[in-house]
C-alpha cells in the first residue's frame, strides 16, 4: 500500500503530463483538420490516437465509419507482433540515451551531450565494424559494439574531466562537444573514410558486424542489451556502494566529500558511463543501418532528456518512458496514413509533455494532491545555476 502510494507520488506528475499533452494535442489535431477540409473534424483526434495505438501495438478499440464510432476491440496477431517489435526497436536506443541523461541526473549532472556521444559511438562502431566486416559475426558484432561503447565513454569522459578538474560546467561543454562531434565526423567521413562506389559520402559497410536480428523484421540485439542494461543500472544505482556514491554526490556533494567520497572521480566516472550508454545507442543505430553516412543525424540524444525527465531518472521509469516515446515513433506512420495527421504532431505532443513536466508545481497545485515532493532532484539538476560546483 505504502509502496503503491510512493509509486503514485513519483508517477503522478509524468502521467498527468502525458494525459494533458494528449488532450492539448487532440485540440491541435482537430484544428489541423481545417487544413484539408472546410469544417472541423471533432472525431479526428480519436481516429489519430487510435491509429497511433494500432500502429504501435496492433490493438484497435474502435471502428469509425462515417460519423459513427463503434466500440470494437480487436487485435490482429501478425500486425500486433510487427507493431510491438517496431515499438521496442524504436524504444531501445531511447532507453540508452535516457540512461545517458538519467544516470547523470543521479550524480547531479545534466548531460546534454547525448547527441555528440551518440555520433562518436556510432562513428567508432562504423569504423571498427567496417574493419572487422569479414570476421565471423559474433566477433565482428562484439567488437563493433564495444567500439561504440568506448567511443561514447571517451566522449563523455571529456566533459566529466573538464568539470572535475577545471570546473567547466557540463552543460556548456557538452553542447560545444555536440557541435564538435558533428562537424569533425562529417569531415572525416567526407575526406578520409569515404568509400568509392556510392553516390554519397559514407563509410564502409559493416558487413558481418551488422546488428543481428533476433526476432521479427527489426527486433535486434540492441533491444536485449538495452533491457539488460536497465537491470544493471538499477542494480548499480540502488544496490551497490558505487551507486550510493553517485546518488550522494548528486543529492549533496558536500556530504559526499564529508563521507570520504571523491566527487571528482565520481563526476568523471559518471559522465563516462553516461557517454557509454549514448555511444551504445549510436552504435546500435549505425550497425542497424550498416554504414555511417556523412549526413547522419539523429534526435535520440536529445530525446534522451525527455525520456529521463519523464522517467524521473529511475531506470524503470526510463524504460517505460522510452517505450512510450518508441510507441509514438512506431505508431506515427500509421497515424499519418490513416488519420492523415501531420507527423509533426508527435513532436508537438512530446514537447507538451516536457512543458507540463516542467510546470510540475502548477500541476501539483491543480491536482491538489498531497503527493509529497519526491522529485529525485532531476528538475533541480536541470534548473540549477551554473555557479554550482561539486568539487
Amino acid at each position: 500500500m505504502t509502496s503503491l502510494r510512493r509509486i503514485w507520488a513519483l508517477a503522478a506528475i509524468p502521467v498527468v503530463s502525458i494525459l494533458l499533452a494528449l488532450l492539448v494535442g487532440s485540440l491541435l489535431i482537430s484544428a489541423s483538420s481545417l487544413a484539408t477540409s472546410p469544417s472541423l473534424n471533432p472525431l479526428l483526434p480519436l481516429i489519430a490516437y487510435e491509429s497511433l495505438l494500432q500502429g504501435a501495438t496492433g490493438l484497435s478499440f474502435i471502428d469509425v465509419t462515417g460519423g459513427a464510432i463503434t466500440f470494437n476491440p480487436s487485435i490482429k496477431p501478425d500486425q500486433a507482433a510487427r507493431a510491438l517489435t517496431s515499438t521496442v526497436a524504436a524504444a531501445s536506443p531511447l532507453v540508452l540515451t535516457g540512461l545517458a541523461v538519467g544516470v547523470g541526473f543521479k550524480a547531479g549532472l545534466f548531460n546534454i551531450g547525448g547527441t555528440g556521444q551518440v555520433l562518436v559511438g556510432g562513428f567508432a562502431a562504423a569504423l571498427v565494424g567496417g574493419t572487422v566486416a569479414g570476421q565471423p559475426a559474433p566477433v565482428a558484432v562484439t567488437m563493433a559494439i564495444l567500439a561504440g561503447a568506448l567511443g561514447g565513454a571517451a566522449y563523455g569522459f571529456i566533459p566529466g574531466f573538464l568539470k572535475a578538474f577545471t570546473g567547466a560546467h557540463e552543460v556548456v561543454s557538452t553542447i560545444m562537444l555536440n557541435s564538435l562531434a558533428a562537424f569533425v565526423i562529417v569531415g572525416l567521413v567526407n575526406d578520409i573514410f569515404k568509400i568509392t562506389g556510392p553516390s554519397f559520402a559514407r563509410s564502409a559497410d559493416v558487413g558481418n558486424a551488422a546488428m543481428p536480428i533476433l526476432f521479427g523484421r527489426n527486433g535486434n540485439l540492441g533491444i536485449l542489451i538495452s533491457l539488460i542494461l536497465v537491470v544493471l543500472v538499477y542494480v548499480l544505482i540502488y544496490r551497490t556502494p558505487l551507486g550510493f556514491e553517485i546518488r550522494t554526490v548528486g543529492a549533496n556533494p558536500s556530504a559526499a566529500r564529508y563521507a570520504g567520497m571523491s566527487p571528482r572521480r565520481l563526476v568523471v566516472l559518471t559522465m563516462s558511463l553516461c557517454g557509454m550508454f549514448a555511444g551504445l545507442a549510436g552504435a546500435f543505430e549505425i550497425l542497424s543501418l550498416g554504414y555511417y553516412p556523412a549526413v547522419f543525424g539523429t534526435s535520440i540524444g536529445f530525446s534522451g532528456i525527455t525520456v529521463a525527465l519523464l522517467g524521473r531518472a529511475h531506470p524503470v521509469g526510463i524504460l517505460l518512458a522510452a517505450i512510450l516515446l518508441g510507441a509514438m515513433q512506431a505508431g506515427a506512420p500509421s497515424m499519418q496514413i490513416t488519420a492523415k495527421v501531420p507527423i509533426e504532431i508527435i513532436d508537438v505532443i512530446q514537447g507538451l509533455i516536457l512543458l507540463f513536466l516542467a510546470a510540475e508545481s502548477v500541476i501539483r497545485h491543480a491536482l491538489r494532491s498531497r503527493t509529497e515532493r519526491v522529485t529525485p532532484g532531476e528538475i533541480g539538476t536541470v534548473s540549477r545555476s551554473y555557479g554550482d560546483s561539486t568539487t
Partner: protein
C-alpha cells in the same frame, strides 16, 4: 489551562481555542488553548515535534485545523492563507529567512507589499521614508539601500521584523529567532522585541532555549506531544521546572561526568595554518593536543577560525601550513576517507550540508560514512538486510524518533537528525572524535542525550575535540578549554574550574582583562563580552 499571573488584564489580541489538528498517525495539536495579550511577549516552549510549528502554521493559514477556533480581538476569524493572515496583522518571521540576498533592504521589504505611487510605479521615496522611520522607532537604524546579502545574520533578522512591521503586523510570530544568532545578537534582538511589545505589539516567541525564554517572555506556554502542559510566568518557574514540563520527566540539564583519566596524546596539532574560502589565513598557526580519554573544548565567538580549523582537521580543507598527527602518524592534508580509516569520527556543525543527505532514507544516512565497509557490503552489492538491522538497532539505542528507517531524513526533526549522525559516528571504531556544534538547535531532551553519549565516549578512551559556540556546553563538557580568538588559541584553561567570565573575556577580546581606555583593543570592532552570558 493553567491560570496565568496577571499583568493588567485586557482582552487578548489573539486567542486560539481548542485547536486540534491530526495528521495520519499523529495528533499534532490536541485541543490547544492559547491567548496572547496586546503588548505581551508570549513564549511557546516545546521539544522538536511537540506541535509548536503546526499551531503556528494554523495561525498563519498554512494549515487548516480539524476543529477549534481563532479569535482576533475577541472576534472569530477564519484564516485562509498567509496573505489573509498578513492582512489581519499577523506576521511570521521564519527561522530560515525569506529574503532575497541580492536585493536591497528596501526591495526585500517591499516585495509583496509594494507601495505604489501610481498603478505602474513603486513609490520608493515613501517606502524609504517609512522604513527609516520604523527602524528609528524601534531602535535600529538601517540603510534601506544596502543589499541584504551583505548584512549579518542578526541584521537580516531585523530586516525580517521590519518587513512584518511594514505590513503593519500587530501579532508577530518569531520561530526560533535566536537559533542562528550569537549571544550578543540575541541580546540585541531582545531589546528590539521588548520595544515592540512596549509599543503594543503582541509577540509569540517560539524557542526551546530555557534561559532565553525566562529572560524575555511575559508568559511561557509549554507544549508537549500536541498538548498544552502548562503556562507559567517567568517569576514563578525556573529552568529545571520548564525542562521537566517540556520533556515530561526530570531532566538533568548538566550531565554528570566523572573526572577524566587522559592517557597519551592522540591528536597532535602543531602550528596549523588554514586559509578560508577567500584565501585569507583564518587559522594562524595553532598548536594543541587532545589526549585519549579527554574532551578538549574549543570556545570562541563564531567566525574566529573554528570552522576552518575543524575542516582542516577532518580533511575537508587543505591546511596551508603546520602538521597534524593522529596516534603518532602524520595525517597532514589527508582526505576524509583516510582519516576515517585511521579512526576519526566527525559530527559536522552543519548537519544539512555535511552530515546528512536529506533526500535519502534514515537507514542510508546511518551508513553514510560506512556504506562500503562490511557488514554493509557483501561482494559487490549492498547488504540491505545488514543495513536495515543496523538502522533498527541505531533507532533503538540512540532513541531516534521516526516512523521507520525508510523515511527521508528530511522528515525528521533536528534533534532526531542529529541523533542519527551521532549514532552513525559514535558507533564506529574510533580513536578521535571531532564534534562541531553537536547540539545546535536541539531541544533539552536531545541535548541531554547527546551530552551523555559524548561523556561515555570519553570514558571509553576517545580523544574528543568539541567545538561549540555555546559557551555553556563547552564548560559543561570539556576537560580543558582552548579559547580561539582571531585564528589563534589565546589560552587553554582547565575545564571544570574555568570561570565563565574569564573565558568570556578571552573569547571577546583575546585577553583576560579589558585594558584601560585608549588601548588598541577598544578600537577594535570585535564582539564584546556582553554577548556571552
Amino acid at each position: 489551562m493553567t491560570e496565568s499571573p496577571s499583568p493588567p488584564v485586557t482582552a487578548p489580541a489573539l486567542e486560539m481555542r481548542a485547536i486540534t489538528k491530526r495528521y495520519p498517525g499523529v495528533v499534532a495539536n490536541d485541543a490547544i488553548d492559547i491567548d496572547v495579550r496586546p503588548g505581551e511577549i508570549h513564549a511557546l516552549l516545546g521539544e522538536n515535534g511537540a506541535g509548536k510549528s503546526t499551531l503556528m502554521n494554523i495561525l498563519y493559514g498554512l494549515a487548516t485545523p480539524d476543529s477549534g477556533e481563532i479569535l482576533l480581538d475577541g472576534a472569530e476569524v477564519r484564516i485562509g492563507g498567509p496573505s489573509d493572515a498578513i492582512a489581519r496583522g499577523i506576521s511570521m518571521v521564519h527561522q530560515h529567512f525569506m529574503l532575497v540576498p541580492v536585493m536591497s533592504v528596501a526591495d526585500n521589504i517591499l516585495l509583496g507589499a509594494e507601495t505604489m505611487a501610481n498603478p505602474i510605479f513603486l513609490d520608493r521615496k515613501e517606502a524609504h521614508r517609512r522604513i527609516v522611520e520604523l527602524g528609528t522607532r524601534f531602535g535600529f537604524q538601517i540603510d534601506p539601500d544596502v543589499p541584504v546579502g551583505s548584512l549579518s545574520v542578526g541584521w537580516q533578522q531585523r530586516v525580517e521584523i521590519l518587513k512584518a512591521l511594514y505590513r503593519q503586523a500587530r501579532i508577530l510570530v518569531l520561530d526560533e529567532p535566536t537559533a542562528v544568532l550569537t549571544p550578543q545578537e540575541t541580546k540585541e534582538i531582545f531589546v528590539v522585541l521588548r520595544r515592540l511589545a512596549d509599543e503594543g505589539h503582541s509577540i509569540i516567541f517560539i524557542s526551546h532555549k530555557l534561559h532565553e525564554v525566562l529572560e524575555i517572555a511575559d508568559r511561557i506556554t509549554v507544549i508537549r506531544r500536541g498538548k498544552v502542559v502548562g503556562t507559567r510566568a517567568p517569576a514563578e518557574t525556573n529552568e529545571d521546572d520548564l525542562a521537566a514540563l517540556m520533556v515530561g520527566r526530570n531532566v538533568q540539564l548538566v550531565v554528570d561526568r566523572g573526572e577524566s583519566h587522559p592517557a597519551g596524546a592522540t591528536l597532535v596539532v602543531s602550528d596549523l595554518k588554514v586559509a578560508d574560502d577567500r584565501g585569507q589565513e583564518s587559522v594562524n598557526g595553532v598548536s594543541f593536543e587532545v589526549r585519549a580519554g579527554e574532551i578538549l573544548g574549543v570556545a570562541g565567538v563564531a567566525g574566529n577560525g573554528q570552522e576552518e580549523l575543524v575542516e582542516a582537521l577532518t580533511g575537508l580543507r587543505k591546511p596551508t601550513g603546520g602538521t597534524v598527527s593522529m596516534g603518532g602518524r602524520d595525517v597532514t592534508g589527508a582526505g576524509p576517507r583516510a582519516l576515517q580509516q585511521q579512526g576519526m569520527s566527525f559530527v559536522p556543525g552543519d548537519r544539512h550540508r555535511f552530515g546528512l543527505v536529506l533526500g535519502f532514507s534514515l537507514a542510508d544516512n546511518l551508513v553514510l560514512t560506512q556504506y562500503d565497509e562490511p557488514p554493509y557490503v557483501k561482494g559487490l552489492l549492498r547488504d540491505e538486510k545488514a543495513i536495515a538491522a543496523w538502522a533498527k538497532r541505531a533507532i533503538a539505542e540512540y532513541d531516534i524518533r521516526t516512523p521507520s528507517a525508510n523515511v527521508n531524513a528530511s522528515t525528521l526533526s533536528g534533534g532526531n537528525q542529529q541523533k542519527a549522525i551521532v549514532a552513525r559516528e559514535f558507533s564506529r571504531e574510533l580513536t578521535v572524535l571531532i564534534l562541531d556544534q553537536p547540539t545546535r538547535g536541539l531541544d533539552v531532551g536531545s541535548i541531554e542525550f547527546i551530552h551523555r553519549q559524548v561523556v561515555a565516549k570519553r570514558d571509553e578512551g576517545a580523544a574528543i575535540l568539541l567545538v561549540s559556540a555555546e559557551l555553556d556546553e563547552v564548560l559543561e563538557l570539556a576537560d580543558r578549554v582552548a579559547v580561539m580568538y582571531r585564528g589563534e588559541i589565546v589560552a587553554v584553561v582547565d575545564g571544570p574550574t574555568a570561570e565563565r567570565e574569564d573565558v568570556g573575556l578571552l573569547m571577546a577580546a583575546g585577553r583576560r582583562a579589558i585594558p584601560p581606555v585608549a588601548s588598541d583593543a577598544v578600537a577594535e570592532p570585535g564582539p564584546t563580552a556582553t554577548g556571552l552570558s
